[in-house]
Amino acid sequence: MTDRDAVWWRVAWRNLWRNRGRTLVTASALALGYLSAVVMVGLTDGMSAELVENGTRLLSGQIQIHAPDYLPERSMHATIGGDAGTDVAALLARIDADPDVMASAPRLYGGGLVSAGERTEAGLLLGIDPEREPRVTTLLSTMDGGRTPRAGAHEVAVGSEMARQLQLGLGDEVILVAPAADGSLGNDLYTLTGIFHTGTPAIDASYAVIPLPDLQLLLAMAPGRIHEVALDVTRPWDTDAIATDLARRLQGSGPPLAVRSWRQLRPELAQSVDLMDSMNFLIVIIIFGMAVFGVANTMIIGTFERKKEFAVVRALGSTATGVGRTVVYEGIMLGALALAAGALITAPVMWWWHTAPPDLSWFVGSFSWSGAQWRPILRVEYSTETPLISAAALFLTSVFAAIYPAWKATRVPPADALADR
C-alpha cells in the first residue's frame, strides 16, 4: 500500500466513526440480514432433514440392503445369499465399517396370520434384532408400557390397531401361523409383551414383531438367513450417493447385494420432501433477496445523504476518484466489521438451536405422516456454504451499493452541491 493509499483507508475509517448513527444503522442491516439468511437456510434444511428422518426412522430406515432378486415380489426364499443364507455378523461388520453408516439392523419377513381367541387377522411377521433395531428405527420405542420381545422367550409385539381388532392386552396369548420355508405350516404360541403405536394405521394394523431367531425357527430357516438390512446414515439428504458408495464397497466380499436409498424405496416420500424443499428454497430466495435489498437500500440512501460532505471534501482538493475510494473502503471495513459481528451473534444462535432444538410436542402433539412418526422439533442444520455465500453476497452488496450514489453525488460540482442546487 502506498502512502496515499494508507491515507484513504484512514480517512475511510474515520468517516465511519464520525457518523456513528449512520454506521450503526448500516452495520445492523448487514449483521441482522446475515443472521436471518443463515438461520433461514438452517431452518429449512432442518425441516427437510427432519422430514426425511422422521419418514425413514420409523420403520424403513434410510437405506435398505437385499438380495438382488428380493424386490419387488418379496419372495420368502429370496434371502441374502440365497437358500444357504450368509454370515450375518460378518456382513453387518462390513456394512458398519462404512463411515457413513451410523447403525444397521437385520430383518426377516414372513406373511401369515395372527390369531387370538376367536379372532384371526392377516399379519406381516417381522423378525428383528432387539439390540440393533432401536439404533436404526423408532418403531419399538413407540410402545406405551410393555417391552420389546426377548429372543427365545416366545414373546411378540403387535401394533395398536391389530391389538384392538384382536382385543388383545399385554400378557395375552397369541398364535402366529405362517408358511415355512420347507413348505410346512409354521405355528407357535407367543405372549404379547408390547403394543406399539406409530400413528400410521397401515403399520399399526399389520405388523407383528418378534426376535429374529424366533422367526427363523418358526419359518424353518437357518440362522444365516435374513431378507434385509436396514441402515441409518449420517446424511439423510444424501442417501443416494451413500448407497452407491456402499454398494461399491460391499461388492465382491460376500453375497450379491442390492443397496437402495429411501428415495428409491419410498418415491412418494421423496416427492413430498422435494416439494417442500422447493417451496422452502423459494422462501429463502425471497428472504435473502429482501436482506440484500435492505442492505443496498440503506447504503444508497446513506450515501446520497452525504452529498454535501463529499462536496466539502472535493472543495478541499480531493478528486472524484478519491471520494469514490473512500466510499469503497468504508464499505469494505464496514462490511467486514458488521459481518464479523453478525457471525459472532449467529454462531451461538445456530449452535444452541442445533443442539437444543425447541420441541413443539407440547404445542401440537406427535403424529405420523407419509408413514412416519413426526416429532415436531424445529431444528437447524449446519452448512458450510450458506454462511460463506451469505457473507459474500452481503459484503459485496455493502461495497457496491454505495458506489453508484457516490459517483452520482460527485458529478455535481462542489459549489452547486454546497448551495443545494
Partner: protein, 266 residues
C-alpha cells in the same frame, strides 16, 4: 402373501368326477340324437346336483415338489357335498393332527403343535393349500359348472389308438372364473378323464392336470392319481394319490364339528 390352509382337495376330486360323469351321459345321447346345447345343459345340471348330496371318506397322499422344497403328506378326508369337509394330516408325525374344517362359510384350522384352533375368515383365504399347486379357485367355488361354462365337444376320435372325447369349456362372459378356457380329454371306453388343460384368456396354457392309475374304489372306477403341473415352472408339481376312497358313507353335517376337528385319527 401366498400359501395358506384352505379347503380340502377332495372337492376338486369331486369336480373331476362330476365332469367325468358328464361324458357318460352325453355318450348316451350321441346314439340317440344330435347333441343339443339345451338338453346337454339340463343333463349336466342334473348330474351336478346329484353330486351335491354325495358324502365321501378317503385316505390321500399329497406329494408336492417346488423350487425350494419337496414334501409328502398323508391325509384323511371326509366331505359332504360342497358345503362340508374335514381334512386331517396323518403323516409325517411332525404335522400329524393338523386339520382343516369347512362348515358352510366358516373355516377352521386345528394346529396340534400348539393345541389351538383358529378361525379363518373367508376373506383371508388366498393362494394355495398347504403350499400345493391347487388354487383357491378350485376349492372355494360353490357355484355350478353350468352357470359358469359353456361346454362343447372339440374332438371325437382316437388319440394314440385310444378313442376319446375332448371337451372345450368356455367360461360364460360374466362368470366369476379366472380361466379363459379349459380343455379336457375323456376316454370313451370307461369315461375316465385323462387330462385337463387350463388356459388364460390370451390362450396361454397356465397349468395341466393329468389323471392316471385308474382303479375301482368305493364301488366306482376312479383315477387314483391326479397331478398338477404349472406351465411356467415345469419342475414343480403337486400329486394327489388316493389310497382309499369310499362314497355314500352316511355322513351328516353334525360330523363336521370343532370337536372332530381336534380329534386324533384312530
Amino acid at each position: 402373501m401366498t400359501d395358506f390352509p384352505l379347503y380340502p382337495i377332495p372337492r376338486a376330486a369331486l369336480r373331476r368326477l362330476a365332469r367325468a360323469a358328464l361324458p357318460a351321459v352325453l355318450a348316451g345321447l350321441t346314439f340317440a340324437a344330435p347333441l343339443q346345447a339345451q338338453t346337454a345343459r339340463e343333463i349336466i345340471d342334473r348330474v351336478d346336483r346329484l353330486l351335491r348330496g354325495a358324502s365321501s371318506h378317503g385316505k390321500v397322499e399329497m406329494r408336492i415338489k417346488t423350487e425350494h422344497w419337496s414334501r409328502s403328506l398323508e391325509m384323511e378326508v371326509w366331505s359332504l357335498g360342497t358345503e362340508y369337509s374335514l381334512v386331517r394330516v396323518t403323516a409325517p408325525p411332525r404335522e400329524a393332527g393338523t386339520a382343516t374344517l369347512k362348515a358352510g362359510q366358516e373355516v377352521w384350522n386345528y394346529l396340534p403343535r400348539v393345541d389351538r384352533t383358529i378361525k379363518v375368515p373367508p376373506s383371508l383365504m388366498m393362494g394355495s393349500w398347504m403350499g400345493s399347486h391347487f388354487t383357491n379357485d378350485d376349492l372355494v367355488k360353490e357355484s355350478r359348472i353350468v352357470d359358469d361354462y359353456d361346454i362343447e365337444i372339440a374332438f371325437d376320435g382316437e388319440r394314440d389308438g385310444v378313442p376319446v372325447w375332448e371337451f372345450t369349456l368356455t367360461p360364460k362372459p360374466e362368470a366369476p372364473v379366472v380361466w379363459g378356457r379349459i380343455e379336457e380329454q375323456v376316454r370313451k371306453a370307461d369315461l375316465m378323464p385323462t387330462w385337463v388343460h387350463y388356459y388364460d384368456e390370451d390362450g396361454t396354457l397356465v397349468r395341466t392336470m393329468t389323471f392316471s392309475d385308474y382303479k375301482r374304489m368305493g364301488g366306482r372306477l376312479v383315477p387314483a392319481e391326479m397331478r398338477v403341473v404349472p406351465t411356467d415352472k415345469p419342475d414343480e408339481s403337486t400329486a394327489l394319490i388316493y389310497h382309499e376312497l369310499e362314497f355314500d358313507v352316511g355322513l351328516t353335517p353334525d360330523f363336521f364339528s370343532l370337536r372332530n376337528l381336534r380329534a386324533r385319527s384312530r
